[in-house]
């Protein structure tokens, strides 16, 4: 169970998160939608302390921390319960695909190297990169790099995986295969919070959809509720623009 309560965050004068609370049950896939600047990425980054919120509480499983006053030890504890998939992959440039995947296991979680390598290879096989264990990121395509990133997060067996617009930096052709992998992860029953623009993914995979705008949660509900019967005007506006774009675009 992941609970985020009353998160507030300002960058300088800009109040990016005004008071956001989110609840995620175990095994749920929550998709966060919203225009740019709505604060969805900031929310995600506050959860694993890549940003320091100004106030709020976070509870992951039975660990509760105050987002502003968390000690270094608490932050590490939270980070070892979560995993993050970045928009631009952020694979460790000086390590091969396999080394990228096992780094968290060996160094942060002190798993013996042999066992870690076994798990790492399994994870890479599972995302379809069984041939690429020893390739460096600079020799992999964007889609392959993101799959390594997903494997790297998945192998840590965290209580929640956070996805920050995982397909936004990819060529359109590669988006599909990456979304398939993410769907596979969801199929394993792992708790996921996904920030994305991919509406069809949200409709297929999400258990709960949250729509954010201007730093607050405007509406939340099941995908059917949000996509077919949005209650708020702002939600309706956003969806109508996105969905018409979806159908008008084809290359």
């Amino acid at each position: 169970m992941i609970e985020v309560k009353n998160v507030k965050k300002a960058f300088g004068k800009q109040q990016v998160l005004k008071d956001v609370s989110v609840e995620v049950e175990d095994g749920q896939v929550v998709v966060v939608l919203g225009p740019s600047g709505s604060g969805k990425t900031t929310l995600l980054r506050c959860i694993n302390f890549l940003e320091n919120a100004d106030s709020g509480q976070l509870a992951i499983g039975d660990t509760c921390v105050d987002l502003k006053k968390a000690t270094k030890k608490q932050i590490l504890e939270i980070r070892r319960k979560t995993a993050f998939v970045f928009q631009n992959y952020n694979l460790f440039a000086n390590k091969t695909a396999l080394e990228n995947v096992i780094e968290g296991l060996v160094t942060a979680r002190h798993i013996p190297r042999g066992e870690a390598i076994k798990q790492g290879k399994e994870a890479l096989d599972w995302v379809g990169l069984g041939e690429k264990y020893h390739c460096y990121p600079c020799n992999l395509s964007g889609g392959q790099q993101q799959r390594v990133g997903i494997a790297r997060a998945f192998v840590l067996n965290p209580e929640v995986i956070l996805f920050d617009e995982p397909t936004s930096a990819l060529d359109p052709e590669l988006v599909g295969e990456t979304l398939d992998i993410i769907k596979k992860v969801a199929g394993r029953g792992i708790t996921m919070i996904v920030v994305t623009h991919e509406m069809s993914f949200a409709q297929d995979v999400a258990n709960k959809v949250i729509f954010m705008d201007e730093g607050i949660v405007v509406e939340e509900g099941s995908p059917e509720e949000i996509f077919s019967n949005p209650k708020e005007e702002r939600t309706r506006q956003f969806l109508s623009r996105i969905i018409s774009l979806d159908s008008n675009y084809s290359i």
Binding site: N48, F49, L50, L76, R79, R80, T82, A83, F84, F86, N88, Y89, N90, L91, F92, A93, N94, K95, E103, G104, T107, A108, R109, Y136, P137, C138, G142, Q145, R152, A153, L156
Partner: protein
């Protein structure tokens, strides 16, 4: 009138001058060894923006990079006695040999130049690498040691090589504060035998060989480490 350049004298000088090469190498080793430590300390202060230390180091680095090595040598040579003797009642010049002043100057100088190289290298690594390290649960120290440092070494290697060549070239100046290195020995040969050109030419050859060797070594190291490869995308 005697020949300007005599081959016999040239070959005679070789065994007389060569032993003093150890002085040059000792300067280079101390300067690089302690210089790297000093540079690391300076970069840490700069990255963490430590008050008092950071602005002090900024001024210090600007001074060391903006003034000639010759002047720095003289300042240390005259300055340390001038500043310390009245306070401690010592007579440093009798205690320290000239080469100690050389060591001090080169360590301070290398610390400044290397700090600029290291700082440039570490800031050119995209911040996403650090974030990725944190996101898999590594501590700050672990992220630095396992992810950032290896990439930093690769990026810093070429400028470090040029700096090393420059260090050797600058070390040719220490004879001006009375250190007997290869140049100092050449001069004393000249004073004794009245023929100095052959000695100087041999010194030039030594420096050329050192410079070429270092450049070759770093060329080999660089290609081996595939420097300049910046992974993601």
């Amino acid at each position: 009138m005697d020949k300007l350049f005599g081959w016999e004298r040239f070959f005679e000088n070789i065994p007389k001058i060569l032993p003093y090469l150890s002085v040059t190498f000792r300067i280079a080793v101390y300067a690089t060894g302690f210089g790297v430590l000093l540079a690391a300390f300076i970069v840490l202060a700069e990255l963490k923006k430590i008050p008092v230390l950071n602005p002090f180091f900024k001024v210090y680095v600007s001074f060391m990079r903006g003034t000639p090595m010759l002047v720095q040598l003289m300042i240390i040579y005259y300055g340390i006695p001038a500043l310390i003797d009245p306070v401690f009642g010592t007579n440093i010049n009798r205690g320290f040999s000239a080469v100690t002043f050389a060591y001090i100057t080169f360590i301070l100088n290398q610390g400044a130049f290397l700090s600029a190289i290291f700082y440039g290298a570490i800031t050119s690594i995209p911040y996403g690498q650090t974030e990725a390290g944190f996101s898999v649960g590594l501590t700050e120290l672990q992220t630095f040691r396992r992810i950032l440092l290896p990439q930093m070494v690769r990026i810093a290697l070429p400028p470090f090589g040029s700096d090393l060549v420059g260090l050797f070239q600058n070390s040719s100046l220490v004879f001006l504060i009375g250190v007997t290195d290869i140049m100092g020995r050449a001069k004393s040969i000249g004073a004794a035998t009245k023929h100095v050109l052959e000695a100087y030419v041999f010194v030039v050859i030594i420096y050329i060989v050192i410079s070429l060797t270092i450049r070759l070594l770093f060329y080999y190291l660089n290609t081996k480490l595939e420097y300049g490869r910046e992974g993601v995308e």
